[in-house]
Amino acid sequence: MRRSENSKSKTILTVAVALSLSISAGAMAAGSHGGGHGSGGHSSASEMKPKMGHGDGHAHGHGNAAGEPGKKADVSRTLEIDMTENRYSQEKITVKAGETIRFVIHNKGELVHEFNIGTPAMHKGHQKEMMMMVDHGVLEADKINHAKMKMDMGGGKTMEHNDPNSALLEPGKSGEIVWKFSKAGTFEIACNVPGHYDAGMVGELTVK
């Protein structure tokens, strides 16, 4: 069982790393080509197959071992979670398999934080992507540069952060995730802003 979970999470990692370098119509039309990161954006659409294996925008969340995007109509309960400097107001969450939860996330801290549902391996992969966002000035300590997110990274990839299993929020902002936990397992809620996970901004999520 353990093994199948691991092998599955690996494929998921490639598809649904929260920072999907997604192709979106907007990015293709309006992507800025600055930054010296190659000129892939000028290539034709047929060449725009992402090379880094992050899947396209339509694959989001599919196959996430922790479940899938839920429908609002199926929500059985709402959990409100506050984020402050490097912790969540709830660090242990238990849900039932098959349950759809609406998470309302508030960033009550002074820096950008994320609420992301996934496996430890997914978070690890996502942390590398987040580091890249920091390196490129997309992510600052206390703000998100949305314009830069749309920057074309070459091959039509952008650094947009629009995954259904994640809420990346500036200080003072709130966000919402509706998530269906399909099957039992142990997962993590985590903030993958560089350093935050290692400092302890991670919680246990058990699906029974």
């Binding site: 930054g35 402050t84 400097e85 912790r87 290692d198 400092a199």
Partner: protein, 585 residues
């Protein structure tokens, strides 16, 4: 009540009136200063300690507490305790001749001050060479609010470089023969090796440059031959901290060495740095870090395996190592790595990169990273006294790091001269902490332009073991005068070939890393050879303070200043009647 920007000024005023807020704790602590036996595992010698031991007890305070500390001097000489990094009224700062008269033999001095900060600090004697002789201990201050990080247990990991010789004897020997303790001198064998690798003219020219500088490429540690200690234990005695696999462990590293910088790593574990010099920084995960003399770094590690891990701290000159262990059970050990090869200083560390010369390649040099290469195309016959302009890294500041792009792009560390032999590399090829990685978790002060700049040239004459600031030693120098309320920008220009940890008492040192409002707040700023480093200070503490290089024998031979803050809530800056040693020898 964190010492926040909004209340910075008001607080000082309040603190000096010594109003104890209702509900605040008030603790009384007692310390005795004693002659003690110090056993390093390599040798046993007499030294100085607190409450009968060296290091002294870990002093645990709580932010907001009003502390009373009775210090009884059981020595036959005057003593003092300086609370390194603590913000307090200057009369409580513990520097004889500057803050007070010192504590005479048999006397008890009572320190009394409010604790206005949290984090890891340390305390030590500021009299003579009592600190190298063992008079030091750690301070841990619990914050009022929750920490922005989690951990299940914590340990102080206090480093020291214990020498067989007393501090007085080391100073005498250095004065007599500055390379007395340099066991890594270049030999005739090295000369012939260079000859075959570089050719005759390059080798001769290289030797002559170093000779003219009265320095050697091995001048990284003035004082070798010590046994590094962790919490008083030598490598053989193996200080051990216990953990349960999966726990987060906070390690509070304090470098209480007299002279030695350490490169710290724990093979098999990543370290997440969460605090530097007592102030929280945005967590940054590294494989290795360098701790300057008198700095502190707090890291969180998470050992998940049921096995031992070695805490390995190599001296910067690779002449010795401190070793301790983290283990699930007492008595377990892990492999102890070998010391890496000693680095050699390069011409870049002299402030002169041999660009375009026929000297073979400079080790580790990244020419493309040199923003302002100086034109040394004709070094021969050059007037070395003119070499007073190390490279100015201020130009790096506006540099857009995003331009470096991409994961894995190695940035050169702006806090070392390009081509420096000292620029560190992680043993496992991973991430080595740089000052540039330190970003304040919560800025203490509002970011504002400095009101004026003060240039401090860090100077010395190695041949006579004279260390100075702006070429003037402490005994001949006028105090530095600051005005209460100003924000001073200090420009440190290191004209020596050694690395100096500059320590300003009483006020924070805001290190300019180019991160503007996120610049880290420190109490020690290390300045590498051949570099210029800027720090800013909000002058918010009246009185008079010490400012010096924290290498014990540099401070004592003149790299020291008195700083007088004029004006402010308590303007009277009475000079203590008696003048007691420290500094000048």
């Amino acid at each position: 009540m964190r010492y926040s920007k909004s209340m910075a000024r008001r607080f000082i005023a309040a603190a000096f009136i010594a109003a104890v807020p209702i509900g605040a704790q008030a603790g009384t602590y007692n310390l005795t200063v004693d002659r003690v036996k110090i056993d390093t595992g390599d040798f046993v010698k007499e030294g100085i300690g607190y409450n009968g031991a060296s290091p002294g007890p870990v002093m645990r305070f709580k932010e907001g507490e009003e502390v009373t500390i009775n210090v009884k001097n059981n020595l036959r000489e005057t003593t003092s305790i300086h609370w390194h990094g603590l913000i307090l009224p200057y009369q409580q700062d513990g520097v004889p001749t500057i803050s007070f008269d010192g504590i005479k033999p048999g006397e008890t001095f009572t320190y009394k001050f409010p604790i206005v900060q949290a984090g890891t600090y340390w305390y030590h004697s500021h009299s003579g060479f009592q600190e190298p002789d063992g008079a030091y201990g750690a301070i841990v201050i619990e914050p009022k609010d929750r920490e922005p990080f989690r951990y299940d247990r914590e340990y102080v990991v206090q480093l020291a470089d214990k020498h067989r010789h007393s501090g007085d004897r080391i100073m005498r020997n250095l004065k007599m023969m500055p390379d007395y303790y340099n066991r890594k001198q270049r030999t005739a064998g090295d000369f012939f090796k260079d000859l075959s690798e570089k050719g005759l003219s390059a080798t001769l020219s290289d030797r002559s440059d170093w000779g003219d500088m009265r320095m050697m490429p091995t001048d990284i540690e003035d004082v070798q031959g010590f046994t590094p200690l962790i919490n008083g234990k030598g490598p053989k005695q193996n200080w051990t901290g216990i953990f349960k696999p999966g726990e987060r462990v906070r390690l509070r590293f304090v470098n209480s060495s007299a002279m030695t910088y350490f490169d710290i790593r724990i093979p098999g574990l990543k370290m997440t740095v969460v605090n530097a010099d007592g102030n929280n920084v945005r967590p940054v995960t590294v494989d290795e870090l360098r701790i300057a003399v008198s700095e502190t770094y707090d890291v969180i590690v998470r050992p998940t395996e049921d096995r031992a891990y070695t805490i390995f701290a190599e001296s910067m000159g690779r002449t010795a190592y401190a070793r301790g262990t983290l283990a699930p059970r007492a008595g377990m050990t892990a492999d102890v790595p070998k010391l890496r090869k000693s680095p050699l200083l390069t011409m870049a560390d002299m402030g002169m990169a041999h660009e375009g010369m026929d000297h073979g390649s400079m080790k580790g040099m990244d020419r493309s990273a040199m923003k302002k290469p100086m034109d040394h195309s004709n070094m021969k016959g050059m007037d070395h006294s003119a070499m007073k302009k190390p490279m100015d890294h201020s130009g790096m500041k506006g540099m857009d790091h995003s331009a470096h792009g991409g994961i894995g792009a190695k940035k050169s560390d702006a806090f070392y001269a390009a081509g420096s032999g000292l620029a560190p590399k992680a043993a496992n090829g991973g991430k080595f902490l740089s000052y540039a990685d330190l970003k304040a978790q919560k800025p203490l002060y509002e970011h504002r332009p400095a009101t004026r700049e003060i240039e401090i040239r860090i100077t010395g004459n190695m041949e006579r073991y004279l260390w100075s600031l702006n070429d003037v030693k402490y005994g001949d120098a006028e105090p530095i005068r600051l005005k209460y309320g100003e924000r001073v920008r200090f420009k440190f220009v290191n004209e020596t070939m050694m690395t100096h940890p500059m320590h300003l008492h009483g006020m924070w040192s805001i290190l300019d890393t180019g991160a503007k409002k996120w610049n880290p707040i420190k109490h020690v700023v290390s300045v590498s050879p051949g570099t210029t480093v800027y720090m800013e200070t909000e002058v918010d503490a009246p009185g008079q303070w010490a400012f010096h290089c924290h290498l014990s024998y540099h401070a004592a031979s003149g790299m020291f200043r008195k700083v007088i803050v004029e004006g402010g809530p308590e303007a009277s800056t009475t000079t203590p009647a008696r003048e007691i040693q420290k500094a000048e020898k």
